[in-house]
């Protein structure tokens, strides 16, 4: 899953896929803006065929949090 997430994330941040780690913080380490974060979540929604609920995103701070969220949504 991390590979797929990296592939989508590099559309929004000027980094190499390898720079994106599970413990990377979205804002502080990757420099993601709030709008880019939302757009990216829209891409994950399509890619992983999940329904993202905007109100649930406040606790997502790292790449690992995104992975956990996607897994949770896929299980639902």
């Amino acid at each position: 899953m991390l590979e797929k997430i990296r592939e989508i994330m590099v559309r929004y941040v000027e980094l190499n896929p390898d720079d994106i780690q599970e413990d990377s913080r979205l804002v502080e380490d990757l420099g993601l803006t709030s709008f880019a974060f939302m757009s990216m979540m829209g891409d994950f929604e399509e890619e992983f065929e999940i329904m993202v609920d905007e109100t649930e995103l406040t606790d997502i701070h790292t790449v690992g949090d995104i992975m956990a969220y996607i897994e949770k949504k896929q299980a639902e």
Binding site: G31, T33, S34, S39, G42, E45, T55
Partner: protein, 510 residues
């Protein structure tokens, strides 16, 4: 529509409904369907909401709106303003305490809320004792909803509305910390919605992506599309902008630089993977077949972004303004585009002059003042009535060029203004810290701290902890991203204030 006959928002809605009663004005996604509302139905529904508000108070009702843009939101807003009541759209990303504070400071007595704020509305009696009625924007079991009002009320008789009366209070970040309520009259908003010509027609479809509590969205998405008889589609979430462009096939959109930059980056990533695809084809894939133009304002836009959009065949036209000016001061059009370095031409009825490098404005779009804040209002104007924008710039060939900011506001690329003092004040009570300065560095909010020397060893950990605490309390776009720690006091002015621009910076914490 004869713009000379428009004086109030009531005139605007009544005329558009008379000219095109059955034309679809609003469209939005509703599950798998698309919900629509015509100009005629909007006027009828708005009059029913006016009737409800009329019964709430003998005087002018101040109605707060907490939620994101949508058909119900715009209906409630129109119902409030067309009969002379006052709308207070609030930023839904604020904390509940800040929302309550904004509602209280604007003397709101009726609340329209998105169902997401149901728990907030349930606790409203203790947070906002002045609020006597709350109406949910969506139908919800056990709650009074806007649909109930529309079903129960008969359309109100339309009263004459004074064009100089206040139609809206919009909050904007102040330089001294607390946000200020900008009072915009009907005349202000109508002037600004009619200050340019030939921007659109009734064949246009707009996709509204900006937050509706911003003047730019209110005037240029909502009122402008109404003026031209165009259709306004609502982007239900920033997550789905690209999907919604495909769905609604807009001809025009209003962006802030943040949105233009994000899409630009995404496109360039695609281009890197497939260098042979022509930019025009990428443009058509992302923006659809119909898109003619994007207007962009609210913050600095880098010229390379404008160039990249031009390569995709999409003019990205810049304008400049501020909430206090309803908001447009300059604009550009397809026939007279901004060049990438300027922000367009001064709009009709607006006068601009430069004093000590600062851009000053006089126009019928200039606000009535800040609500219940005479001192702040006075400070915004020169003795002969020119509004001080706080922006530095110059005028050449009737075009405005911005060179910097006089006032100490951080303008983020989404057009949001952040007051450094407001963030600095949040450090108050940190016994380990002597001084703090918040500023923007590489477009990132940066906090720099000088700790008391006796705390030097523990300062970094305490600093990080404090920033985490602050970041949890503020909306995502106002979070502190960069931290700098210094071992020397900040340089001061002669009046012993910390200089906003420091010759040396502290160490960057990774």
């Amino acid at each position: 529509m004869k713009t000379s006959e428009l004086h109030t928002i009531q005139d605007l809605l009544v005329q558009s409904a008379a000219e095109r009663p059955d034309k679809v004005y609003l469209r939005e996604k509703a599950g798998r369907e698309i919900a629509e509302k015509t100009f005629g139905k909007l006027l009828d529904d708005a009059r029913r909401i006016s009737a409800f508000l009329e019964r709430q108070s003998e005087g002018k009702v101040h109605a707060g709106l907490v939620g994101t843009s949508g058909i119900a939101y715009i209906t409630a807003l129109m119902g409030t303003v067309i009969n002379g009541d006052l709308a207070v759209p609030i930023d839904p990303q604020l904390s509940n305490e800040e929302i309550a504070d904004n509602l209280n400071r604007a003397d709101v007595t009726v609340l329209f809320y998105d169902k997401r704020f149901a728990a907030f509305a349930d606790g409203i009696a203790s947070l906002c004792p002045g609020i006597t009625a709350a109406v949910c924007l969506q139908p919800e079991e056990g709650r009074r909803s806007i649909d109930d009002l529309i079903a129960e009320e008969a359309p109100a008789e339309l009263k004459s509305v004074d064009p100089q009366s206040c139609a809206c209070i919009l909050y904007t970040s102040g330089t001294t910390g607390k946000s200020k309520g900008v009072m915009l009259s009907h005349a202000n908003l109508i002037d600004n919605a009619t200050c340019c010509d030939n921007e659109g027609s009734d064949r246009d479809v707009l996709l509204s992506v900006l937050p509706i509590h911003h003047a730019y969205c209110l005037t240029c998405d909502v009122l402008l599309s109404m003026r031209y008889g165009a259709t306004l589609c609502i982007n239900d979430s920033p997550m789905r902008l690209v999907q919604n462009i495909k769905l609604f096939q807009p001809t025009m959109m209003l962006f802030v630089p943040l949105i233009a930059e994000t899409i630009y980056r995404r496109i360039m990533a695609e281009k890197k993977r497939n260098p042979l695809i022509p930019m025009k084809l990428i443009g058509r894939t992302v923006f659809g077949r119909e898109l003619r133009v994007i207007f962009c304002g609210g913050a600095y836009l880098a010229p390379e972004i404008t160039e990249a959009y031009a390569k995709m065949g999409i003019p990205l036209l810049q304008g400049y303004g501020m909430t206090e000016c309803s908001p447009r001061i300059t604009s550009s059009s397809e026939a007279d585009p901004s060049t990438g370095t300027d922000v367009g031409r001064v709009v009709k009825n607006c006068s601009v002059k430069i004093e000590d490098g600062e851009i000053l404005v006089k126009s019928p779009s200039v606000m009535l003042g800040y609500y219940k804040n005479e001192e702040a209002t006075r400070e915004m104007f020169t003795s002969d009535g020119w509004l001080k924008t706080g922006d530095l710039g110059y005028v050449k060939d009737e075009r405005i060029y911005i060179t910097g900011r006089r006032k100490n506001l951080i303008i983020l690329s989404n057009g949001e203004n952040v007051s450094p003092e407001e963030l600095e004040n949040r450090f108050a009570g940190s016994e380990w810290m002597s001084e703090v300065l918040v500023y923007s560095e590489d477009e990132q909010i940066t906090a720099e701290v000088y700790p008391f020397p006796e705390f030097a060893n523990k300062a970094e950990a305490l600093f990080r902890k404090k920033v985490d605490e602050i970041n949890k309390a503020v909306p995502p776009q106002r979070r502190i991203v960069r931290l700098r720690l210094r071992d020397k006091e900040f340089e001061k002015t002669t009046s012993k204030k910390v200089k906003r621009i420091q010759p040396e910076k502290g160490e960057l914490l990774k």
